[in-house]
Symmetry: C2
Subunit: 114 residues, 2 copies
């Protein structure tokens, strides 16, 4: 199930950084991973991702390097910086506060963190 794109706003950066927390990745791979991990809910578009990655690199939240795959294709890998890691943790806290507040207003839903 795909959701209204407008709900995505603001959380995309967090999700991307979260992916990079586990492993270095190249753009195309992030789109696939995000789709898989979210059970097809997040269908991030290339036109959204690449400009976003460039801005994250400018903000020094990620760094990039090129790596040649087996098939001689050059891929651009991104890696989470220390600054990016801090940013991610802050955003995760924000997400917790935000989603709890939405649930407070909606009522009938409980939010538990493990």
């Amino acid at each position: 199930m795909a959701i209204d794109k407008s709900l995505l706003t603001g959380s995309t950066t967090m999700l991307i950084l979260r992916l990079l927390e586990e492993a270095d990745m190249y753009g195309y791979q992030m789109i696939e991973e995000l789709n898989k991990k979210s059970k097809n809910v997040f269908a991030l578009k290339a036109g959204t991702l690449y400009p976003l990655l460039h801005s994250l690199e400018q903000k020094e939240l990620v760094t990039s390097y090129e790596k040649t795959a087996d098939n001689a294709k050059v891929r651009k890998y991104y890696s989470l910086t220390k600054k990016g890691s801090s940013h991610l943790h802050a955003k995760k806290e924000e997400w917790k506060v935000y989603s709890s507040a939405v649930n407070d207003v909606l009522g009938g839903a409980t939010f538990a963190t493990a």
Copy 2:
């Protein structure tokens, strides 16, 4: 705690409709209610709310009527329509799917509905 405004995108309509599900309200009151229910997380701006209410009325999700308060002040009350109620339920489902998906990606959080 106030959160990054960008996270709000798309959910404001849902929250407003949710308020009207419980009782008819006028704009200014919604801002206060939302603030209270969300424990000061949502500080909706008048410049956001009033245009939004007008668009909701155009979409026939709400209707409005004027009512004079004790102090002779005229307030514009909004009421949820049947169409608005359906819309709200659809949006709530979307929110569940979306927030679960975010938690899936973030890991370490469980989402339970009551």
